[in-house]
């Protein structure tokens, strides 16, 4: 890592290694297969929320429709592997490429809209997609869903084993994280944040703002599609309700709760919300004897409270003390700064 990079963006190696260590360690600690499933789902959803974080937190464009892209991936994989006996890997790639282009084409007109209107348009796309998968029942199985999606296998190793699948999912998630970090820690990251702050000024500096917005929208859609394919092969069954607006909203909430301003926030938010869901369900069942969707009350309440009191998300809360620690080091950076500034003249 060059000195300049450190000055501009801080260190990324430490948190990355920490995450890798955590992922490697968890299988030794966690014995419950139930928690393992949750960890796998966190990996899958993190891939979606990472892309969404680039779109929302960096470029400042909202989407209430990413469950549709998640669904395109899942259904492409599902349909191609069951009805057409295609290799799951090929199906996964086809899904991603298709989603990318669909999102790109939709993105060109839609990203001209702002704020509430963009939210409404993406929401509309999600509803249209949902109705389409219900309606095209010859292909998608309609409301009954699509069953018998094969599991993935890698080098002859069937990924039916939870441990294998866990590592597979998290390897993919780490790769997506790495790509996202690369984007964020470059001029593109600055461009996206500039768009967030002032589109007009960004354009004046020579940036074709629309191109960037559409590219990030399509990229985040492709990530969602990848996650969707993995989901389909893991659960081996897909049905329309999984891809309704409620899921889009869930993704959005994960990003915001974690802190949209940082890609690490996406993973944190996904983890927190997933466990929160489970805890609410567990407590509700065991201590209050309530069932069904009752947990949404608590869930709604927590979201309101977090957004009211921690609008920058949990990541912001965590990184603040770390930042304070770094204040001490600032003297060092300053001398370093002087060094380069002198060289600049």
């Amino acid at each position: 890592m060059s000195k300049l990079e450190k000055v501009l963006y801080g260190n990324r190696l430490k948190p990355f290694l920490f995450l890798v260590g955590l992922i490697l360690m968890l299988p030794f600690v966690v014995k419950s297969s139930y928690i393992f499933t949750i960890l796998i789902l966190i990996g899958i959803y993190s891939i979606v929320t990472l892309g969404l974080c680039l779109l929302i937190g960096y470029a400042g464009q909202i989407s209430l429709g990413h469950a549709a892209f998640f669904g395109i991936g899942a259904y492409t994989s599902g349909v191609l592997t069951t009805s057409f006996q295609l290799s799951p890997w090929l199906a996964l790639v086809i899904g991603m490429v298709t989603t990318f282009f669909i999102a790109y084409l939709i993105g060109i007109p839609i990203l001209k809209l702002k704020g509430h209107f963009l939210a409404l348009a993406t929401l509309g796309i999600n509803i249209i997609f949902y109705i389409l998968i219900l309606g095209l029942n010859q292909l998608t199985g309609g409301a009954a869903g699509l069953i018998g999606i094969p599991s993935l296998s890698l080098f002859g190793l069937p990924l039916t084993d939870k441990l294998f699948f866990y590592f597979f999912v998290w390897t993919a998630a780490l790769l997506v994280l790495l790509l996202s970090l690369n984007i964020v820690r470059s001029h593109v990251g600055r461009v996206l944040r500039s768009i967030h702050d002032s589109e007009i000024a960004t354009e004046t500096l020579g940036v074709k703002v629309e191109n960037y917005k559409v590219a990030i929208f399509a990229l985040s859609a492709a990530f969602a599609s990848l996650a969707g394919s993995m989901y389909a092969h893991y659960i081996t069954f897909v049905a329309p309700p999984t891809f309704y607006i409620t899921k889009s909203i869930l993704f959005l909430i994960m990003v915001m709760v974690g802190g949209a301003g940082s890609v690490w926030g996406a993973i944190l938010g996904t983890t927190v919300i997933m466990f929160l869901n489970e805890i609410i369900r567990f407590v509700g069942h065991t201590y209050f004897g309530i069932s069904g969707e009752v947990e949404i009350v608590v869930y709604g309440l927590i979201i309101i409270l977090i957004m009211m009191f921690l609008p920058k998300g949990l990541m912001h809360v965590i990184s603040k003390p770390i930042q304070k620690l770094k204040q001490k080091k600032k003297v060092k950076i300053k001398s370093h700064k002087d060094m380069i500034s002198q060289k600049g003249v």
Partner: protein, 255 residues
């Protein structure tokens, strides 16, 4: 003096009202031209038409012989035209350094793909942007605040920052929309100093300004608008003697 900017008969009508009517003038290389006029004279409208924020009802503008009118806004930076805004448009959530680095965009080849895979080009671009940004930061003396969030700066400093961001990629022509508005005397003089320094490097300016002292001090030539029409054009001395201008400003403070 070779012509950099040529404005030919720019006209803008809003509904039935003519905001700007048949304005023509030139800006030569290395020249500072000011546009003045009472409130509502159409200065900002003219400005926005030249910088392609508004499409004119009639007429066009040329830059180095290329037609500007009808171009997309981002294209202007690539041609070598920079601008600032009357109501400051800085990136509040970026640091001062990052704000200024954004000004280097047209010099960079970073895109989403090579950034995602971190190709060598990216690191080179970071260095280019950083070095260019440092030059600009030095010029306006913001070194000490490089790592502060731009939104935290005082208004005067934010104006300096916006100016620095506009000059990073060394444009040939800079359009300033009321660069001194809201600045105190000290800050005004400082800003005038930057403009003079860049002029000595051969950069041209077109600016709209209300502070007459600054206009008279900086401008080589002044264009006076009133009710959308050009009523006078000339050197500061000529303008100060011009009867039409004095009449238009009657009741307003001149010099």
């Amino acid at each position: 003096m070779s012509k950099l900017l040529e404005v030919r008969g720019l006209t803008k009508q809003f509904g039935g009202v003519t905001a700007v009517s048949e304005i023509s003038f030139d800006v030569g290389a290395g020249e500072i031209v000011a546009v003045i006029g009472p409130n509502g004279a159409g200065k900002t409208t003219l400005f926005n038409m030249i910088s392609c924020f508004l499409s004119p009802t009639n007429g066009e503008a040329y830059f180095k012989g290329n037609k500007l009118t009808g171009q997309k806004i981002p294209q202007l930076a690539h041609l070598g035209i920079a601008r600032t805004f009357q109501n400051l448009q800085i990136f509040h959530n970026l640091t001062v350094l990052e704000n200024v680095m954004m000004g280097a965009h047209v010099k960079l080849k970073t895109n989403v793909v090579n950034a995602a895979f971190r190709l060598p080009r990216i690191l080179k671009d970071e260095r280019i942007a950083y070095d260019l940004a440092l030059d600009a930061i030095h010029l306006v003396g913001l070194e000490e605040l490089m790592f502060e969030q731009a939104g935290q700066l005082s208004y005067g400093l934010q104006k300096q920052l916006e100016f620095a961001r506009a000059i990073v990629y060394k444009p040939d022509f800079i359009m300033l929309d009321e660069p001194m508005a809201g600045l105190n005397d000290y800050e005004t003089n400082r800003m005038a100093g930057y403009i003079k320094k860049l002029k000595s490097e051969g950069i041209s300016f077109l600016f709209v300004e209300h502070k007459m002292a600054t206009v008279m001090e900086l401008a080589d030539r002044i264009i006076v608008l009133d009710f959308g029409k050009k009523i006078a054009e000339g050197t500061p001395d000529e303008i100060q003697q011009n009867a039409k201008v004095i009449a238009a400003y009657l009741g307003e403070e001149v010099v």
